[in-house]
Symmetry: C2
Subunit: 337 residues, 2 copies
């Protein structure tokens, strides 16, 4: 048996389909008597409004999308969780789109999402500045967009990021105050906010303490384990090897530790380490890792709440929200020998 329609409900309640629709959406007031009859009919027929018809008619859907560079990165997973939470709570479905940081794939996805008429999208863009034609197009077509973790320069959209600069600055200060003078950093790419800002925070901490900025101690990577491994490799092979490492992402930590282990170095005796992000294994590692914990879940929550506000038509100036982080001191740092 096929499912009931508004028409069936209308007949059963002896009212018009318009009235049924009205009680369904509470769009305008209806007589209590009729209202009751409709409600009863709905229950009796186990009527559920057809979403597809509604979508077509209103030219909108109740789904949002999260466009993410790497779904397997624990950082993003935790964000997804936050997004999913509020989406569910608000009756929205969540589409997850993995771009592998490939602009082409991102564009394909955004195009698809536009076709699907998603109500809005949270995106960690593959490119902060150039083109981004599809996203721009989506924006033009009136779609709500918020950028997460990275920024969207030319477009004027809301953004949600961690307090990268300050967090990085204090983490490195912590190392300096422990007595370290040569601190290596595995930084992210300079063309994305997180990479750039964390590197700047690192440099600022050095400046704050009157320490020199040594370019050979700064390794730019793409926050990938394999690249980080090579970077740390280089750092450890330096004639005047750093006594401490600031690894500016959790993903990079994986590769970095591999390199440290391969060199037969013991943490923290031979080298101190602070990592950005607090993946679940950081606290059980030997030794437990001192880290800068981002409020990952909150990033997702804030982003989706912002997004929903836009979807609902709130008119407020474009804003960029910065979430604080927390320096968790564990056992991977000691004064240099």
């Amino acid at each position: 048996m096929k499912s009931a329609t508004v028409k069936d409900v209308a007949e059963r309640a002896r009212v018009s389909v318009a009235t049924v629709s009205r009680v369904l959406n509470g769009s305008s007031s209806v007589d209590a008597e009729l209202q009751a009859r409709v409600v009863a009919a709905i229950a009796e027929l186990q009527f559920r409004p057809n979403r597809l018809a509604r979508n077509l008619r209103t030219n909108s859907t109740k789904t949002i999308a999260f466009v993410v560079p790497d779904i397997e990165n624990p950082f993003f997973i935790s964000v997804v969780r936050g997004v999913e939470e509020v989406a569910f709570r608000e009756g929205y479905s969540l589409l997850v789109c993995n771009t592998h940081d490939d602009i082409k794939r991102e564009n394909q996805y955004v195009e698809l999402l536009t076709d699907e008429a998603v109500a809005g999208l949270i995106i960690c863009p593959t490119d902060e500045r150039r083109g981004h034609t599809q996203v721009q197009q989506a924006l033009n077509s009136g779609m709500a967009v918020v950028a997460l973790d990275r920024r969207l320069e030319d477009a004027s959209v809301d953004g949600v990021l961690s307090e990268n600069f300050g967090s990085s600055r204090s983490a490195v200060s912590y190392l300096i105050e422990l007595g370290h003078r040569r601190i290596g950093i595995v930084a992210g790419p300079d063309h994305f906010a997180p990479g750039r800002e964390r590197r700047q925070g690192y440099e600022q901490a050095l400046i704050d303490h009157g320490l020199p900025i040594d370019r050979e101690l700064i390794k730019l990577t793409h926050f990938r384990a394999s690249e980080a491994e090579g970077a740390v490799e280089g750092l450890l092979n330096l004639p005047d090897r750093p006594t401490a490492l600031f690894i500016s992402s959790g993903n990079a930590a994986l590769g970095s530790l591999r390199a440290v282990n391969r060199h037969g170095l013991t943490i923290p005796d031979d080298i101190s380490i602070v990592i950005f992000d607090d993946p679940d294994w950081a606290s059980i590692y030997n030794p437990p890792l001192t880290c800068v914990a981002q409020k990952t879940r909150d990033l997702g929550v804030v982003a989706s709440e912002l997004l929903l506000r836009r979807i609902r038509g709130h008119e407020e100036p474009v804003q960029e929200r910065r979430l604080p982080t927390r320096l968790i001191i564990r056992e991977s740092c000691v004064p240099p020998r």
Copy 2:
């Protein structure tokens, strides 16, 4: 300016809307001449068919859903990645639904998905046997369903799982052949296939080698870190402490290692450890952990391919696919002292 419709295209190409639709779907052959005109018109108008209208008309969508108990579990994430991969390749969108292993939430989600008319869903059910009314209902309404990691007993749906029993059996055999006689196991709940089968594999290995099954060495948990921690705590406090531990999930490994560390025990000198799953940190842990690696991504790939086959109407007997695992020997096991 609003976007073009089939009608616009039809006018421009001087054909009927039916013809436009035909070239769009390749449903029946159309004259080459007209075909060309339509294609041209489509390009000129930058026409993109309205998905919402199409959905309503065909009463179907090109989205599939993955209903998962815990999106933050690395195991599921990796599966998601596999699912996303084939979904994207095949032009499907992927909805991700996190149930927290809460049957109520699962039901809400499945109901929502039914309303949204998703083409199919891959589910790791909260309950393998009881009720599962919503899923059953979805099935009745003709939706394609495949169960992943866990089974769906009463319903006849395809399933994809790892070779739990055999893998577990060989992993434990490995420990026994190393000389261990008292091996503790942190098992999952017995009412889910992975928990039950891995425990059975463990027992079988003991039987194979003529060893006794000691109930006090078997700890049932929910594969959660905190629970596993307590379980291992109990194991380590046993008067005759086990010399080796078989931790039957990656998530449980987190808590288990915490307990081991707290007891000041060194791996593998004081105690040997094998874990099920190969989270990315297992290979850089000190010492690198010997583990049973599941083909997580493949689980997702196989499940979605199975699902798409069903969606496309393939008629084949219901099947349960078992994927092999791989025992990766690293450095967390040595003969007992």
